[in-house]
Amino acid sequence: MTDQTQMHETSPTTEATDNEQQESATTPTGVSDLLSESGAGMAGYNYAYLDEHTKREVRRGVLKAISLPGHQVPFASREMPLARGWGTGGIQASLSLLGPADTFKVIDQGSDESVNAANIRRLAKTTADVETTTDTTEASVIQTRHRIPEEVLTDEQILVLQVPTTDALRRVDGSDDANRRRHAHKNYSKMWVALYENVVKWDEIQISARYPAMVNGRYLMDPSPIPRWDTTKLNDADSLFLFAAGREARIYAVPPHTDVEPLAFEDRSFQVERFDESCHRCGSTDTYLTEVTGDDGVTRYACNDASFCEKRAEHPDLSKDHHLDEDDVAWGPETPDPILSDETGGEDA
């Protein structure tokens, strides 16, 4: 996304090593032979793995998506060296944006260390020659699955979300044809009926992830399977959010400072998840927690955002906007969690 003049260079493998390996290329006798060749695998690959036409195509899609907030823009999604549904859309978007000056972070369900996240990070590091990090505040491009980081994103950062299902309306109608017509005419009454029936049945809206949200008062958007907790972070943020779906070949975007409003009734307001406990590692009460069952069979609550949890474990009072000049930056649910603070406050008194 920064210095793009280097994009046409191939990977830094020299010709000399290339020739050496071709000369010694005989029938491999063991695993070690195969492994030694794998280092030369980058020769012949373009910078950032994708060819320049693909990257331009993706960037065109990204630009169009930014100009039409929340609208699903088709793009020519390519075959990737991993199965569709494993983040192929996100990878294509990230690799099209990355330049050598970028710092890249990959999160999978809040964790930097899952196999999928580590492999995507390594692919970018090997092919695009970028710095990688697990620290949210240091990254310029963050690819993520199912979460928006707990630390406030800035106007220097782009969050690329991997999207399995692009259309929020598919919950209520399986026909993409009919749904495209609905989007074209901003006809979302069927979604509203589904929410109405949800409240009738459960007395509240029971959508845990992929909570449908109106973008810029125009398009209904599926914000990918982020928890409700993260949905409000999309509203009026400083950063750019890109949503990329490889299997469905669609890109959509929430540009900085765009209104994103989760659908809800006037008298049944949008609710985020509430937790009765704090993180067992860092003690946070203002982060999204998940249940973790340890080897001892005991189920505890832990921060889902592993990198922020680590920081909090060292500095328990670290705020989500600690890296910014301003204080009390709005970012997701109220900080700290009013329900939990009320309860502890009540006990103390």
Partner: protein, 275 residues
């Protein structure tokens, strides 16, 4: 000005380019509605009618006489081939309204009760959800208000309120018809169009649905167009009646006059053939 004033409403069907003489070569005088030159089927042609506020207009005719085509065009469900329709809440020719204007008009000004339940209701939704869809589409966003309005409409149309949260496909035919009426009148439209409101219902349920609708129509003074092949339905509901055959209006007048003193031979046959 009357609520709705239609002139020269025409609809062609068929895969051939109309030859230009289709209207002249069809109709009651020729005893056919398919053009012998080009094969175009003239669904209806040159239909003029008007509806006053609070008035009920009946359209009768045998199958294929063009009455449903006419009703669908007036209910904004079907594109017209030609014609001009003035409607009080719309500026210009109603038949030229674009998709978005049609959606708006259908949400707030024109209610339609379809002959086939599936055209009017989503059977997977609850009965209440179907009625709520009209309100939600018109911009209602307060759950308790929507709920209260749906309950009122269920009481109004005599559907058991206890069943409002059951899926619509578990409802009886009569209840489904009532839910369609509830949905059609949810946003207090100026005009309701009933397409064969009693088809497929047994006689006692027919009578109760008609009674219910007649009461609502009088209480709310909503203008209505009733399309039916059943003269009994039209006699019960309509102030004025038009008789259609081969896509043309062949007779019109006060319902009592048309029923008691039919002028056209076809109308006389139609009335005499009531079993």
């Amino acid at each position: 000005m009357s609520l709705l004033d239609a002139e020269n409403v025409t609809r062609f069907y068929g895969e051939f380019e109309p030859c230009g003489d289709c209207v002249d070569l069809t109709g009651p005088t020729h005893g056919r509605n398919q053009c012998p030159d080009c094969g175009t089927v003239v669904g209806c042609a040159d239909v003029d009618l008007d509806v006053e506020r609070g008035e009920v207009l009946g359209i009768v005719g045998e199958s294929g006489s063009g009455k449903s085509s006419l009703a669908e065009m007036l209910a904004l469900d079907l594109a017209a081939t030609a014609g001009n329709v003035e409607f009080a809440s719309y500026d210009g020719n109603l038949l030229d309204a674009n998709y978005e204007e049609r959606v708006d008009l259908r949400n707030t000004n024109v209610g339609m009760v379809h002959q086939h339940v599936r055209d009017g209701l989503n059977l997977e939704f609850t009965g209440g959800g179907n009625v709520a869809e009209s309100l939600l589409a018109a911009g209602w966003r307060n759950f308790d208000e929507i709920r209260a309005r749906v309950r009122d409409l269920f009481e109004e149309t005599e559907v058991p309120v206890d069943r409002m949260d059951d899926p619509t496909d578990t409802y009886s035919g009569g209840m489904q018809r009532r839910v369609q009426i509830a949905k059609a009148i949810a946003n207090d439209p100026e005009l309701v169009i009933l397409d064969e409101p009693t088809t497929g219902l047994d006689v006692s349920v027919q009578a109760r649905v008609l009674d219910m609708f007649r009461r609502i129509q009088r209480e709310q003074d909503v203008a209505t167009i009733v399309v039916s092949h059943d003269l009994g339905v039209v006699r019960l509901l309509a102030d004025r009646t038009v008789v259609m055959r081969h896509g043309r209006v062949i007779e019109s007048g006060l319902t009592d006059r048309v029923m008691e003193d039919p002028q056209r031979e076809y109308t006389q046959t139609l009335i005499n053939s009531v079993i």
